[in-house]
Amino acid sequence: MMNTLASIFVVIGLFFMVVGALGLIRLPDFYTRVHASGKCDTMGEGMMLLGFILYEGTSLIAVKMFLLVLFIFITSPTAVHAIMNVAHTCGTEPWKIGDERR
């Protein structure tokens, strides 16, 4: 039962990781790629770690993994924001409909 739940979480997380990488390839410019990478990767990582926690059961290792989830959910948006801020300051123009891909 617990293992089934864990594998569901792991598969959902894996799906989001793949979507993040695909978005990094498919989307037309830097700003939109950040959406795929920043959102889907954070979410996929969290889901996979939740699956591992369920697989591990109650132990100190599971608590450590939970701390890792918290750390990732705090720092990952910040790193994305830092990169985004740099691109904006350097004057990268956002892509609009009708422009060619960059």
Partner: protein
């Protein structure tokens, strides 16, 4: 003084989770290490000298109560992004919009910026004062949702105990 005690307690709890050993050597080393870190960086954890510990604890508890709604919003936003990435024609219409907020507290501004990055199809680009510059994957939907998300602003302001004008 109470700030130092709270910091030390949090850090020693963190140490126990990391270590897991209850032998006297490791506990003693933990107490010494946490004391050193407490001396170096208590003023980092608490933003100002006036912040009272009780208020911080209340904020923390209210924030945990707010988490489920945030997680639900994150899941919905992620499925939205996944749909737009996997759709063959990619129905996106990106653009930059600005949001004005009445927030004054540093932590509140940070929490709102990170919540915007994670939730409704937007990524925070720049924060100057209370004004957020935001890049949206679908401009109109994001404008609409940001108007609706006034209640996200309100609930975050409520969590951090800052009255909204």
């Amino acid at each position: 003084m109470s700030q130092y005690i709270v910091t030390f307690a949090v850090l020693i709890f963190f140490w126990y989770i990391l270590s897991g050993y209850l032998e006297p050597f490791y506990i003693g080393a933990g107490i010494i290490c946490c004391a050193i870190v407490t001396l170096i960086s208590t003023d980092l954890l608490f933003l100002s000298n006036e912040t009272s510990v009780l208020r911080s604890v209340g904020t923390f508890i209210r924030f945990i109560g707010y988490l489920p709604r945030l997680i639900l919003a994150i899941i919905i936003a992620n499925f939205d992004v996944a749909y737009r990435v996997l759709h063959p024609r990619m129905p996106i219409d990106p653009g930059i919009i600005t949001v004005d907020t009445p927030f004054k507290n540093d932590i509140l501004r940070t929490a709102f910026a990170n919540a915007l990055t994670l939730t409704p199809g937007t990524v925070t680009v720049e924060v100057v004062g209370g004004r957020y510059t935001v890049h949206a994957l679908v401009r109109e939907a994001a404008e609409e949702s940001l108007l609706r998300e006034k209640d996200m602003q309100k609930s975050l302001a409520h969590v951090f105990g800052e009255g909204e004008e």
